[in-house]
């Protein structure tokens, strides 16, 4: 049963957080962090999850590792349904899945030596692994075995992230979830870590779930991509396919908004306003209040489901883009779109 092509299988996964409005309020509200997402992570691939702040990408990462309890839905890891397993029952599986965090400055215990940090997983899981194994790991991630007795503060940001990678590798996991692992690093260092992750993947046959808000980073590292918006997956498919011909207007807007280090004009699709609050997400298609292709009476009434729009390429949109690239005006010319008016240059910011 473990021979399945998919290492992780997610079906209709939902996570809501209860929040209090105001300090002593009675009324409970819920943050719709992740809403009914389904996706698979194949063995040996890198699945990129991309989206803006609050889109639910980090929550998804934590759900996959079962660091959070899903509100509903199923989650299978390596054939085991782990959506309802107790933390205790999860323990043997924990060593198969590891995580690399965003902030290399706060994710390492400052009072422990590098050797202790990387060796900790062995102790926790009663696995074999002495000093030699840790030194080997240090070399694997491009540090020196002599760093064994040093403390995290003696290292630069890039080196600390390498320590984090070594710690994640210690128990030879099958899956590593990388949550914005290069966002806090300078570009020149970022490239070092991205290359390292890619080499390790080949060397150890790793599967990555790679979370980032940076579309360039995702393009560089991911084989497949899930684009998230307000807790929903709006587009899912092979990386090349999504970057070369995005189907969802949100993906298109996102791609067109990325500043590029090349001169020369290009068309930007301007979204009006900000991301709405996940406490009271818009009805039907969550993107409809900002969408340039919004059709009144359809998009705000009927929820679009992910559907196949190309080979290994799905999007959740009633009016997907026909081709790419498209100019802002062309995007707005979707037949029957009820928001043909182009927003003011400065983009009205309507929210809250």
């Amino acid at each position: 049963m473990n021979a399945s092509e998919n290492l992780v299988e997610i079906e209709h996964l939902t996570k809501r957080f209860a929040v209090k409005q105001g300090v002593f309020a009675r009324g409970r509200a819920e943050v719709h962090a992740v809403e009914d997402i389904s996706l698979n992570v194949r063995r040996g691939e890198t699945l990129g999850i991309v989206g803006e702040s609050g889109c639910g990408k980090s929550t998804t990462a934590r759900l996959i590792l079962r660091l959070l309890e899903p509100t509903s839905g199923t989650l299978r890891f390596d054939g085991h349904d782990i959506s309802k397993l107790s933390q205790r029952a999860l323990r043997p599986l924990r060593r198969e899945m590891q995580m690399i965090f965003q902030d290399p400055y706060s994710s390492l215990n400052p009072r422990k030596t590098v050797g202790q940090i990387i060796g900790a997983p062995f102790a926790i899981h009663h696995a074999k692994g002495g000093r030699e194994r840790v030194e080997e790991l240090l070399e694997t991630v491009g540090l020196s075995p002599e760093h064994y007795n040093r403390y995290p503060h003696e290292f630069s940001g890039g080196q600390r992230q390498r320590i984090g990678v070594a710690r994640a590798l210690a128990l030879s996991p099958k899956l590593i979830v990388c949550d914005e692992p290069v966002s806090a690093l300078d570009v020149s260092i970022q490239a070092q870590i991205l290359n390292l992750l890619r080499n390790l993947q080949t060397e150890f046959n790793l599967t990555y779930v790679f979370i980032s808000h940076d579309l360039s980073v995702i393009r560089q590292i991911a084989d497949r991509i899930a684009v998230m918006y307000l807790g929903h997956i709006v587009e899912l498919g092979d990386s090349e396919s999504i970057y070369e011909s995005p189907k969802h207007p949100y993906t298109a807007a996102l791609l067109s908004a990325v500043p590029r280090p090349t001169t020369g004009g290009r068309q930007r699709i301007v979204l009006s306003g900000d991301v709405p609050s996940p406490v009271s997400p818009p009805a039907a298609c969550v993107f409809h209040p900002r969408c340039p292709r919004f059709h009144e009476g359809h998009c705000d009434v009927e929820t679009p489901l992910l559907r196949e729009l190309g080979p290994r390429h799905e999007a959740a949109c009633h009016y997907p883009l026909e081709r790419w690239p498209m100019s802002d005006a062309e995007v707005r010319q979707a037949e029957g779109a009820t928001r043909a008016d182009k927003p003011h240059l400065q983009g009205a910011a309507h929210d809250a």
């Binding site: 803006e52 702040s53 630069s156 940001g157 890039g158 080196q159 300078d186 570009v187 020149s188 260092i189 970022q190 490239a191 070092q192 991205l194 290359n195 890619r198 808000h213 940076d214 579309l215 360039s216 980073v217 393009r219 560089q220 590292i221 990386s239 090349e240 970057y243 807007a253 996102l254 791609l255 908004a257 990325v258 500043p259 590029r260 280090p261 090349t262 001169t263 930007r268 301007v270 979204l271 900000d274 991301v275 003011h344 240059l345 400065q346 983009g347 009205a348 910011a349 309507h350 929210d351 809250a352």
Partner: protein
């Protein structure tokens, strides 16, 4: 880069030192540049490159007791570095305004947004509270805040990140400044909001005919907005010139390194070429060229002799850079860079 009557700011030999118990941090060393009306000067560099510090020094926003600043910053015929604090204060927020990185932290959490902008009005003009408030509302409306009249009464936490940054820009525009310094204005924002803010800054520049200094670590942001680019590393200028030239024919190995290590949204690269090592400690920066320990092209003179920032004698039309490599070598290598980036061969 522009005729002299449009010259707004002339910085010569700006040097900033922070004495600390561990030694002197050489944050900015001998930085010279100019800013003209209608120009957007993009200052790019990694953390610790001195890009933010130099602007704070110009604004007089560094702690006077714990910094040693030298050089000249000429603005409207006056050297800002020698002005008495109160004279400098009268320029700050009036003629030179600033927008910062984190709009979540830059507005006072306990005052209404409108109040904070109105305060900027009354700081340099003797107008009544009502008039100041009206000006605040007008500016909020101008920078694209819907229902500005009622939103002005909101507290910052009721604004989204993009709206806060708009409010910061409104605050900066209060007295029609001639220089707007933006320090990583979009780094804390989402990419779609970032695009809106960059467009707003561009629109403001055209409308008010001002000079903009845009500090960022993001080469993409620079490429989209800057007319002139200054690449900084370890407190020094590595390369300085028109944006078009720098992006098409970068001359300095550090600039090449930056471009090569950036992943592209346009296509997946076969491999990123990182700059090996980490930026140097500013407590003891390397001798000679500060970039030499990480430079793939270093040769004899690099560790001992600091290359001056100069326009190559072979090409008087080219832009200035600080590297010992021969002009021919730079053409060869730099040319590869722009082709590799723009062309289809990876």
């Amino acid at each position: 880069m522009s005729s002299s009557h449009d010259l707004l700011l002339d910085v010569r030999g700006l040097t900033v030192r922070f004495p600390t118990p561990d030694g002197v941090v050489q944050a900015v060393s001998d930085v010279s540049f100019t800013l003209s009306r209608g120009e957007t000067l993009g200052v790019v560099g990694e953390s610790g490159s001195g890009k933010s510090v130099s602007n704070l020094a110009i604004m007089g926003l560094l702690n006077q007791q714990r910094t040693a600043i030298s050089g000249e910053v000429e603005f409207m015929g006056r050297n800002l570095l020698t002005l008495p604090p109160d004279e400098l204060r009268k320029i700050r927020g009036k003629d030179i305004a600033m927008v910062f990185q984190d709009p979540f932290a830059c507005l006072h959490p306990m005052y209404r947004v409108g109040w904070q902008i109105a305060e900027a009005v009354t700081a340099h003009a003797s107008v009544g509270k009502k008039a100041a408030w009206a000006r605040a509302v007008e500016l909020l409306d101008h920078v694209g805040i819907p229902n500005a009249k009622s939103r002005a009464r909101d507290f910052p936490h009721q604004f989204s990140g993009g709206m806060r940054q708009r409010a910061m820009i409104a605050m900066a525009l209060v007295h029609n400044p001639s220089i707007l310094i933006c320090d990583e204005p979009t780094t804390a924002l989402d990419v779609t909001v970032q695009a809106q803010i960059l467009e707003l800054i561009e629109a403001v520049k055209r409308e008010f005919d001002i000079g903009v200094i845009l500090v960022t670590h993001d080469l993409g942001v620079i490429a989209e907005t800057a007319t002139t680019v200054m690449v900084m590393y370890a407190g020094r200028i590595m390369e300085y010139g028109p944006a078009q030239q720098i992006f098409e024919r970068p001359q300095h190995p550090y600039a090449w390194g930056l471009l090569d290590s950036m992943p592209s949204v346009e296509k997946r690269l076969s491999a990123l070429v990182p700059i090996e090592g980490a930026p140097p400690s500013l407590l003891s920066p390397p001798s000679g060229c500060p970039f030499h320990p990480r430079c793939r092209y270093r040769f004899e003179p690099c560790p001992t002799e600091r290359p001056p920032l100069a326009v190559p004698t072979q090409a008087p039309d080219a832009h200035a850079d600080a590297c010992h490599l021969s002009w021919e070598a730079k053409q060869r290598e730099g040319g590869k860079r722009s082709i590799a980036r723009l062309g289809d061969a990876a």
